[in-house]
Symmetry: none
Amino acid sequence: MKCEILCVGTELLLGDTLNTNSQFLAKELSFLGIGVFHQSVVGDNPERVRESLKVAFDRSDMVITTGGLGPTKDDLTKEECAKFFNKKLILNEEALSRLKAIFIKRGFELSESNIKQAYLPEGCIPMQNNNGTAPGCIITDNNKTLIMLPGPPKEVYPMFKESVVPYLKTLSNDVFVSKVLRVFGIGESNAADRISNLLDNENPTVAPYAKDNEVIFRITAKCKNEDEAAILIKPIEQEIREKLGDCIYGEGEKTLEYVVGELLVNNNLTISAAESCTGGLVSGKLINYPGISSAFLEGAVTYTNEAKMKRLNVKKETLDKYGAVSEQTAKEMAEGIAKAAGTDIGVSTTGIAGPGGGSDEKPVGLVYIGIYYNNETYVKKLNLSGSREKIRNRAVMEVLDMIRRKIS
Amino acid sequence: MKCEILCVGTELLLGDTLNTNSQFLAKELSFLGIGVFHQSVVGDNPERVRESLKVAFDRSDMVITTGGLGPTKDDLTKEECAKFFNKKLILNEEALSRLKAIFIKRGFELSESNIKQAYLPEGCIPMQNNNGTAPGCIITDNNKTLIMLPGPPKEVYPMFKESVVPYLKTLSNDVFVSKVLRVFGIGESNAADRISNLLDNENPTVAPYAKDNEVIFRITAKCKNEDEAAILIKPIEQEIREKLGDCIYGEGEKTLEYVVGELLVNNNLTISAAESCTGGLVSGKLINYPGISSAFLEGAVTYTNEAKMKRLNVKKETLDKYGAVSEQTAKEMAEGIAKAAGTDIGVSTTGIAGPGGGSDEKPVGLVYIGIYYNNETYVKKLNLSGSREKIRNRAVMEVLDMIRRKIS
């Protein structure tokens, strides 16, 4: 089956928005064994959407669109696709009642243009949207399949997984089974070098992906059933685990903060965080773990020296002698917050996130992260690069990884 | 002139690489007033590259390709493009001598496949590569223009600016000027409804974009020069400002946290934050503003009742009587942190981010946000929906907007 991706949206066409949907869909389709041969982007223009559908269906059996399902006038994908297949748009009652529920909850009036979103082409398979207002749908006609998805990635990803994947699986006899290993503390090329012998493997395949601050290896087996896939995947997984050791922090969808949250809760450990350069993001990440309330007791964002002294008992002499960005300050911050909050673990961050504030001695990107645990304090010095945001996010991940390594 | 972008590369087609070249080129071309009507991606496959060139030139005057100029077998863009225009590939002496210099510097031998890179279609305008080994080129024939660029973004960006921009400027008399207005506190469809009369405007055009938690309106004028564009944009901007009022928080690239940071610093105001459900993210956002250190004095992540009492002086009776997620607690938190940190402003968040912890009376998504300023405390009740992350991020933006409205 030949499939292609058609993203509709003037914001993509003009480059206002980076097209992450295409990448997501291409990757997911290739895992499912569905060949993608073209990706296209077209603006919110009826004529060009129509032309693009024609070009796409002349060469492919299946087209997946994203975007253009919103409530405004320039959202016209659904209308043009329905015309293309000679289908009328009819009101989908479930979509309407979902829309109403969302608007009642928000306390807004449901307008005419909103109700437009609840109309779908006759005879389609509707796909309800659990993360937004526009439903998607699947039209099949004459051996051609059109799958319409909304535009925002946070709606596209779950709708694809919840509704499109189950549909696509009915089309093929093969199953594709994947196992994801998540890696932190080693760069992509370094990690890939260590397992380079596996990267040309045919079945299962092994593919590395660099995500913000981490590397993910996906092992994918193509088989007749899940049991067969598990047998194929096992030795490959074992080899990767041997070669990457404790840099592998988890599996599947579990993020680093999730793994750390789970470790803290399961080990009955309490934690507190004292943050300077990361400004609350370490606490914010820890609190992403839904069950964290028994473990995370307190966070302090001590951006100023005064706050470091008052809240964390960092000594004035330490700040005077070594500066706020120093191993000594990071140590006293971690110890100070653990004592103030009465927790088993205290973590700290202090650094120069930039763009200003750097010097030859203490350049932008210099960050100290500290952890107090079991009456010992350990401080790690990081030399990070990139934007203010990148430096702070990387520092947060380093703190999480430091906690993981200390308590696992 | 109709232009389109064709990116060649199997790594893009399968989603292994995010296609940032398309976005870069689209944005740059739109600034130059060159209409981009299609973007496509195709793999390193001769037949499909040929087909894609045909589709592209059937509907466009100019095609810009990226990728497929490398030394390996699967790099075939140049060969297929030359065939498409019936041009022979001939050795470009400057490209060869540049290649030789690079290889001598690296201490490598120049192989046959490397030399292949120095061949260019006869009669083309060569574009030398100052950041890599593959030169690009421009072919013009029969009112059709093909611009070939390498694949790596770090080669594409400078080659475009150094060689393509000067060429393109010779082709057009128009400039496109855009103005972006940023909106918070009103949904996309509601905002679009209010200015629906403008959405069909032809010059300037007005286009709405929903971004995470906010709406952006872009006004774009096509003119002979920037002055003329400014005159066209002004009344449209004025009308949008009248209709959306103080929901417009800023212009251009300035985010809500940037606007708030700027307001705080320019007004010499100090601020502190007490966070429960947002767990540090309000502090984290405020600290995104590079100059914030004079304004942001302290943050407290008080996830537990104990921390709320100890750090913020929230009364035990308040927590017992109304609960941690209540208007009263939000009020005492905002006042408590302002007093403890000695700041002009104190903000607070307390709510149920889910997925668990909700009840009929206090459902998931119920969040109270508070602000203490000028001896007054104001608390706003929010009913949010979506995932834990979505609820928390939305609450953070609501706090920022509340600060903006109080102090501007």
